[in-house]
C-alpha cells in the first residue's frame, strides 16, 4: 500500500529518523491544502477544547435535575428559553451541558482505545513480521480468531459479564482493535526486513529489539497514523453503541450513547433529547474519518481517494 513512502524514507532512516521530521512538515502542509480536512481538524480541536473545558463552559451541572423544566425545547423554538439553549431532557437536565460533558467520555475512549490497540498491534506486527517462524504463525492465527469475533459482541460480553466502567470499555476496545494495526505493520515489515539497511544493521551485531525499534518502527509510522486516526472514530462509535445498549459506561456518567438511548423514548414528543447527542456523535466521527482519509491521501498518493 505505502511502498512509495517507505522507499523514500529508507535511505535516511537507516541512519536515523531525520527523514521522518522533514516529511512530517510536508504532511502538515499537504493536509492544510485540503480545505475539508482543515475544517474537520478545526472541529476536532473545538471538540477537544470542549472536553477539557466542560466544567468551565457548561451552563449547568449536567447531572442537575429540575423536574419543573422537563423536556423543554431548544431556545429557538416556542416554549424554549435562553436558560437552556438546547433544551432539557426527561429529568430537566440541561442538554447543552450534557452534550459538552459527553465529549469527554467519547474522546477519552476513542484516543485511549486507539493508543492501546496501536501499541499492541505494533508490537505484534513488528515481532510477527521481523522474527517470523512459529511466532508469526501463532500470532496470525490469533488474529484470525480475533477477527471472527465481532468486536462489538466481544465487548458486549466482556463488559456485560465482567462489569461496566470507563476503563473496562477502553481496555476492551483497545484489546479487540489490534488486528488491523498488526496486519499492516507486519506486511510493511515483511518488505523492509530484506532491505540493505536492515541486513547491514544485523551484520554489525545490532540486536533484534534495537532493529525493530530504531530501523523498522520509524518506517511504519505513516500507515500507523492513518489506521490510528480512523480507529479513534471506530472506538468512539463502539463506545456509544455499548452505552446505547446500556452495557457500557455506568448510567451516571454522561455519554452520547446513553443520551440517545434515553432520547429514543421521547422521539414522539421531544426530538431534541436524541438529536443533539446524535449530531455531536456523527459530526465527531465524520471529522475524524475526514482527517484520517486526508492523512492517507497525503501519506500514500497512490491510494488517492480510496
Amino acid at each position: 500500500m505505502t511502498d512509495s513512502t517507505t522507499n523514500e524514507a529508507t535511505p535516511t532512516s537507516a541512519r536515523g529518523t531525520g527523514a521522518a521530521g522533514a516529511s512530517r512538515t510536508g504532511v502538515l502542509r499537504s493536509l492544510l491544502r485540503n480545505r475539508l480536512a482543515v475544517c474537520a481538524l478545526g472541529f476536532l480541536v473545538l471538540a477537544a477544547a470542549a472536553a477539557v473545558l466542560a466544567p468551565l463552559i457548561a451552563p449547568h451541572d449536567p447531572a442537575h435535575q429540575d423536574l419543573l423544566v422537563r423536556l423543554r425545547p431548544p431556545a429557538w423554538q416556542s416554549g424554549g428559553s435562553a436558560e437552556h439553549l438546547l433544551g432539557t431532557d426527561q429529568l430537566g437536565r440541561d442538554l447543552l451541558a450534557r452534550v459538552l460533558y459527553g465529549t469527554r467520555v467519547s474522546l477519552l475512549v476513542g484516543a485511549g482505545a486507539a493508543l492501546l490497540a496501536g501499541l499492541v498491534g505494533t508490537v505484534v506486527g513488528l515481532s510477527s513480521g521481523y522474527l517470523g517462524g512459529w511466532l508469526d504463525r501463532v500470532l496470525m492465527r490469533l488474529a484470525d480468531v480475533q477477527l471472527a469475533f465481532p468486536a462489538i459482541l466481544l465487548a458486549l460480553a466482556i463488559v456485560g459479564f465482567l462489569g461496566s466502567g470507563l476503563w473496562y470499555v477502553i481496555l476492551v476496545l483497545g484489546f479487540t482493535g489490534w488486528v488491523a494495526y498488526a496486519r499492516v505493520v507486519r506486511s510493511e515489515v515483511l518488505s523492509l526486513r530484506t532491505r540493505d539497511f536492515v541486513t547491514e544493521a544485523r551484520a554489525i551485531g545490532v540486536t533484534d529489539a534495537t532493529i525493530m525499534r530504531r530501523h523498522l518502527l520509524p518506517n511504519v509510522l505513516a500507515p500507523l497514523a492513518t489506521i490510528g486516526t480512523l480507529h479513534v472514530a471506530t472506538a468512539i462509535v463502539a463506545e456509544a453503541s455499548l452505552s446505547y445498549l446500556g452495557l457500557g459506561v455506568p448510567k451516571e456518567t454522561v455519554t452520547w450513547g446513553g443520551m440517545l438511548s434515553d432520547g429514543q423514548l421521547y422521539l414522539g414528543t421531544a426530538w431534541w433529547v436524541a438529536v443533539f447527542p446524535g449530531v455531536a456523535l456523527m459530526l465527531t466521527s465524520l471529522a475524524i474519518n475526514i482527517t484520517g482519509d486526508a492523512l492517507r491521501d497525503v501519506a500514500d498518493p497512490k491510494a488517492y481517494r480510496r
Binding site: R141, L162, R306
Partner: protein, 336 residues
Amino acid sequence: MTGTTVSPPSPAATEPPAAGDAKDAGRVARVLRQVALRLGTALLVLFCTATVAFFLVRLSGDPVKTLLPPDATAQQEESLRAGLGLDRSLLSQYLHYLGGLPRFDFGDSLFYNQPVRTVLADRLPATLELAAGALVLTLLIAVPAGIVAAMRRGRPTDRGVMATVLLGQSTPPFWVGILLILLFAVTFQVLPASGYGTLAHLVLPAVTLAVYSVAVVARLLRSSLIDVLSSDHIRSARARGLGPVKTVLRHGLRNASLPVVTVVGLEVGSLLGGAILTERVFSWPGVGQLTVEAIANRDFPLVQATVLLFAATFVVVNLLVDLSYSLLDPRVRSSR
C-alpha cells in the same frame, strides 16, 4: 460449496493416474491440502471461540443469584444449581458442553427454560429476513453507485457519491435508525417505528442495516473499478468500439468484484454488530436482540450459543469468499 470446487478434478485422484496425469494428481493433492488447511483453520477458530465464550461467561459469578429472588434460601439455591448442572466441576461442565456442540446441543436456556436450539430457531428467521433485506438494498444501491462514481471519476457525480459514502461510514447504525424513525414514523407517519411481521415493518430496519454496507461496497467497488478500467484489456475493448457502459459491465465488473468480495467477507463482523444495534433500535425480535437480552440476563448457555453462531457465520462467509475466488478469477483456479 466445498464439494463443487473439489469434485471436478477428483476422479483423477481416485482412479490410478494415467501416464500423462501425474501433474494433474499433484495439483489435486495441492487443492485438497488447501481445502483441508482452510477447514482446519475454520474449526480451530470455532473451537477457540467456544472455549473463550465458555470461560468468559463463568468469570462473572453466579447466575443462580440473578435467577432467584433475593430472599431465596440456601437450599433453594443449591437445588437450582444442581438442576442447572452448575454444581459439577468446571472441567466436567466444559467437556459436557464441548460434547454437545457437534450435535448442535447447547443445553437449556436458563431464562427461557427451553433448549437453546429451540430459542435460537425461534429468533433466527427474523434476523435472516433483516439480513436479506439489507443485502438486497446493498446490491441495488451500492453496485450502481460504485459503477457511476468510477466512470465519472473526479466529476460532481463522483464527489457526491463519495461524500454520501463518507457520511454513511461515519454514522452509527442506531443513530441512522433513530433519524429514520423520527422522519418516517414520527413526522410523516408512513412507516411503523417498531414491530415485526409485514413488509412495512422491514423497511426502516433494513435501510438502517444497509447504510454501512452500502457505503463500504460502493467505496470499494469504485476504487477497484478505477484500477481495472486503466488496464489494457479495457482499453482494447474500448478501442474495438464497445460502449463505455457495456465495457464496464462485460469486462470491468467481474475483475473489480474480487477485492470487494474479500473485504465484504472481513466486514461481516461489523455487519453482525450492526444487526445487533439495528434490532435493538426497532425492537426487532431477532438473534441480535436475543444476544443482548441473554447477556443482561446472564443466560450462560444462550450467550455461548449466540457467540458461537456469530463466529460460525463469519467463518462460513469467509470460507465461501475464499471459494468464490476461483469462480471469479480463473487465474486463482489454475495457479493454486
